[in-house]
Symmetry: C2
DNA sequence: GGTTTTTGATACGTTGACGTATCGCTACGA
DNA sequence: TCGTAGCGATACGTCAACGTATCAAAAACC
């Protein structure tokens, strides 16, 4: 019980552990972006991280566990401020943020690997879908409230509109060679949500 | 020159060759759908096809060549008839067709593998982008002509509208658990293209 | 300063896939 | 009917990654 008691009191047993986990997870994300889900290799992660292979196996039981943990680190919250402005202005702020992340970020780099992994692994698929559903909930709510306040056309279906807006951004990233630029956000909103009420 | 002369006269040198290629390509597509780009294994394709591994290497130099050929077979042309109807009706016919294919087809099954492969292999990426650009050209043209004829709002950007429509369908397939149903096509069009002019 | 824990290096056996080679068999084609 | 060309099966050597085990050095802790 001495160890348990000490652990209950002591918050950080050894800084080396946290440091190892952190650098390994970062390297694992690099690996996923570079070679994808199917090409992921523990020995390559160890090399990227500048770490012994044994250190990885001390912290994760196997490859799949590390991949799952790495994908989870991808999702730090924190979008733009939504306090001020009209519904349309808030919408534009959200979509610019999404466009920037989808165009260039660790998330963007790992997106093909995430989609592929979700197609192969049931647990990863559930995680992927669950997270995406949460991520677009505020957008749907914003559109719905914008409809209620008369900022957007009443004929709009909030979910479909959100999927069309996000869909355009993701479609560009995944199916074309030119990612969606933040500067196109205004035009996209005008196309999907109708012209700005003057 | 004797062989060349005979080949110029003889259309089908040996039916076994065509048959082998065909069954192997079909098995390769199955494999891509099942295990993806990174998990693709020639020996597994041979087993799926009920064919000796040596037969595959007789027809393709290596794994990547077979993968590339398999992806190309994915793209048979032939959309819906676009002769009759209003622009809106034609649009709905196209999108229903796309939705059906994206929801369930060999293309749909291989889509994650294609996206992942395009992220890893430069040649595959060029092929993917090129084909997708060709595939959405008629849709963009239809939207543009619909705008010109007054069937769609003049404020619409045809390319952005096409990306929003297709984007919603692909987004559903790749980022959510519920694929886009053909029955939702009408609502999607109303949301993105504005309410039906009465 | 001495003990304990984590770490990096390295070696190990195993597995699975690559791509090659060989060899009867069989189906095609004349 | 006979020669040829494509075929399936199988064995082969190679390689890369898996996950395990061991051990001395370094860092953290007290």
């Amino acid at each position: 019980m001495a160890a348990a008691a000490r652990r209950a009191v002591d918050p950080g047993p050894d800084p080396r552990i946290a440091r190892s986990r952190q650098v390994i997870l970062a390297a694992a994300l690099d690996e996923l972006g570079a070679v994808g889900y199917g090409g992921f290799a523990i020995e390559s992660v160890a090399a990227r991280a500048g770490v012994g292979k044994s250190t990885i196996y001390r912290h994760w039981p196997d490859k799949l566990a590390l991949i799952a943990d790495a994908f989870e680190t991808l999702h730090q919250a924190g979008g733009p401020d939504l306090a001020a402005g009209t519904a349309r202005e808030k919408l534009e702020r959200i979509l610019r943020h999404v466009a920037a992340i989808v165009a260039d970020s660790p998330f963007s780099a790992c997106l093909p690997a995430l989609i592929d992994g979700a197609a192969r692994d049931r647990a990863l698929r559930r995680f992927h879908h669950r997270f995406q559903a949460e991520a677009r909930r505020p957008l749907i709510a914003l559109i719905a409230s914008g409809i209620a306040s008369g900022d957007f056309p009443a004929a709009l279906d909030p979910e479909l509109a959100a999927e069309a807006l996000l869909g355009a951004i993701f479609f560009r990233r995944l199916m074309t060679e030119k990612a969606f630029a933040p500067a196109e956000t205004g035009a996209l909103i005008e196309t999907v949500m109708g012209p700005r009420a003057s």
